[in-house]
């Protein structure tokens, strides 16, 4: 089912949680809402799920306005941040809940409920835990049970609030892949909220980057990483070097009241100046981290530090040591006017 969000705004008291949001989600898409905490991503998810009401704007599911529909009539499955499993019910009863509370005339027979619940538990590979209680499960297991419970009501849309937020790194990685596979199997339109860029880039079809209640960029993982639309996206996703003055960026003529943004891996290092746009620097620090080598250089005559990432092969071809005088030049950069860069998060 497709989702269209038109001009949605939401205030909490004086705090503007969402500021005129417009977004389209295609049927069967897996979309990530990415941003720092307080950027409004969870509010947007809760509005789609019917757990909050927007102040203004329209929300269309498959072309139909659902703003006045209750949460229970939206056919939406919601997976809560802390799972919100019913702690007094067994895993089986948790998953069966949505089926048991249906009005009598459309409720399944007990045998059918049983069959469906076990089918779902098999889907999330936890059939053997049916009689346990939530407190007896690990975080990853709870997460999958919460998902099975949401899927039990056969939702057309699946919403996940920080689905991996409370898990440790190893389990997170596993569950991420698992969620991707599950989505490819079921093809339910799914939206998940995360503050973890890696998670968003790895799992989703498209990423919506949000900041201060506004959408900064919508695009495929590759697009938001390779072609950030705003300074915020540049800084939030991946690392970036900022060049503030023309002296430090001889390769561009546009630095009046502007800042140049350059990714660390987009910088070339050479022993001699290629041409007049090369910037002389001194190597300050060299650190090999797995397959990449991180080089920190200081611009001559200032204390500004630039971070550069080289692949191991590249580094081995032309090794560097502290104190080496070298020249740098970006392969790719982007310039933003200063006023655009006002509202940057500290990274």
């Amino acid at each position: 089912m497709s989702i269209i969000i038109e001009n949605i705004s939401k205030h909490f008291g004086n705090f503007k949680a969402l500021d005129n949001i417009n977004l389209e989600v295609g049927s069967g898409e897996l979309l990530a809402l990415l941003g720092p905490s307080g950027c409004g991503k969870t509010s947007l998810l809760r509005i789609i799920g019917g757990l909050e009401l927007p102040d203004t704007g329209k929300l269309l599911f498959h072309g139909e306005d659902v703003k006045s529909r209750d949460a229970c009539n939206r056919n939406v499955g919601f997976v809560f941040q802390h799972y919100a499993l019913f702690r007094h019910m067994s895993v089986f009863e948790n998953v069966a809940f949505g089926l048991r509370v249906k009005p009598k005339h459309i409720r399944y027979k007990e045998a059918e409920i049983k069959r469906r619940v076990h089918e779902l538990l098999e889907l999330v590979q936890l059939d053997w835990l049916a009689d346990r209680f939530p407190a007896q499960l690990s975080g990853g297991q709870r997460q999958r049970i919460a998902l099975a419970r949401a899927l039990a009501v056969e939702p057309k849309i699946l919403l996940l609030d920080e689905p991996f937020g409370a898990l440790d790194a190893q389990v997170r990685k596993e569950l991420r892949r698992w969620l991707r596979r599950l989505h490819d199997e079921l093809h339910i339109t799914s939206i998940f909220v995360t503050h973890d860029q890696e998670e968003a880039l790895e799992v989703s079809d498209r990423v919506v980057v949000m900041n201060k209640g506004r959408i900064e960029q919508v695009g495929t993982p590759d697009e938001v990483y390779a072609q950030p639309a705003t300074p915020f996206v540049y800084q939030f996703i991946g690392n970036v070097n900022l060049f503030h003055s023309r002296d430090h960026a001889p390769w561009t003529q546009q630095l009046d009241d502007a800042i140049a943004y350059v990714r660390p891996h987009d910088i070339d290092i050479s022993v001699s100046a290629q041409d007049e746009t090369s910037l002389p620097v001194v190597v300050n620090l060299v650190r090999a981290i797995g397959a990449i080598v991180r080089v920190e250089v200081e611009i001559d005559g200032s204390h500004e530090l630039i971070e550069i990432e080289l692949s191991r092969e590249r580094f081995d071809a032309a090794p560097l040591a502290c104190g080496d005088r070298v020249y740098i030049r970006p392969r790719q950069f982007r310039v933003f006017q200063k006023e655009e860069t006002d509202e940057l998060p500290a990274t």
Binding site: G50, E52, L53
Partner: protein
């Protein structure tokens, strides 16, 4: 609750959970009928007395001395409870000894035991020939039927307050902080004075105020042991009852209003204390 939609949304945040209007509506109705309207009757009645009438009734020797007895005895009892309550809380949190769980459960006895039962029992125990009273009598001290007896009764009913407010806070004091202080060379007493006591001080004060507030209004446990001699061991609640028995509603109301105002002031103090405690980050 016929609130229009826009006013409604400003009054409360939206929620998908149902039943707010019904639940809050019923809450407010029941609160008004049982508590607010009856209590306001007291103030309306006072208003009909006029200021002069009120003072005439309120400021006479018997009333003033009853208030003094009530206050002084409540204060003494609350202080006793603050000291011993702190010790009891400390012992219950920090030490292990056989029967601890039973002792811990028993601390709440004054909450659960009807005040009249406490009253007759304490009166019997502290009477000149009672189990405890005889020892005091031998020393020439009369406990029952004197203000001292009132203090005993008020100490009993206020006992759980300090223990129960200090206990959880004391449990939360991190051992690490104490160990850090000890490593820095503080003696055990200094650790208590400089590290532990500041952490539990707001809770202690809250417990003290609660015990004090409870003691001021107490009636049932006191009247049996107090002797109830006007000017000496007559507490204000008893004076209200005495006036009522003489159908002196105005007089009873005047005393009640004074007590009620004192109670409200204490309630505000307690709330402020708790606010202060939470602001200081004392969990």
């Amino acid at each position: 609750m016929a609130l229009s939609s826009p006013a409604h949304s400003r009054f409360r945040a939206h929620s998908v959970l149902p039943g707010f209007n019904l639940a809050l509506g019923y809450t407010l109705l029941y609160l008004s009928l049982i508590v607010l309207i009856p209590l306001s009757a007291l103030f309306v009645k006072t208003a009909t007395l006029g200021l002069d009438g009120f003072f005439e009734l309120a400021v006479n020797d018997r009333v003033v001395s009853s208030l003094r007895v009530t206050f002084v005895c409540s204060l003494v009892a609350a202080v006793i409870n603050a000291i011993f309550g702190l010790l009891v809380a400390w012992v219950l949190v920090r030490y292990r000894f056989p029967g601890k769980r039973i002792v811990d459960a028993l601390v709440d006895l004054p909450f659960a035991l009807p005040t009249a039962v406490a009253g007759i029992t304490l009166a019997t125990l502290y009477a000149p020939h009672g189990w405890i009273g005889q020892y005091f009598a031998a020393m020439g001290i009369k406990v029952a039927y004197t203000p001292l007896g009132i203090v005993v009764a008020l100490t009993f009913i206020g006992l759980p307050f300090v223990v129960r407010t200090v206990q959880p806070v004391l449990e939360d004091v991190e051992v690490g902080v104490e160990e850090a202080a000890a490593c820095l060379g503080a003696t055990r007493f200094e650790v208590f004075r400089r590290v532990i006591f500041p952490a539990i001080y707001p809770a202690l004060l809250t417990g003290f105020s609660l015990a004090f507030a409870r003691a001021i209004g107490e009636y049932g446990s006191v009247i049996f042991i107090a002797g109830n001699m006007p000017y000496i061991s007559e507490i204000s609640p008893l004076l209200i009852v005495a006036k009522l028995e003489q159908y002196d509603y105005a007089g009873a109301t005047a005393i009640a209003v004074i007590m009620l105002l004192i109670s409200f002031a204490l309630l505000l103090t307690i709330n402020a204390l708790q606010w202060w405690a939470s602001k200081r980050g004392v969990r």
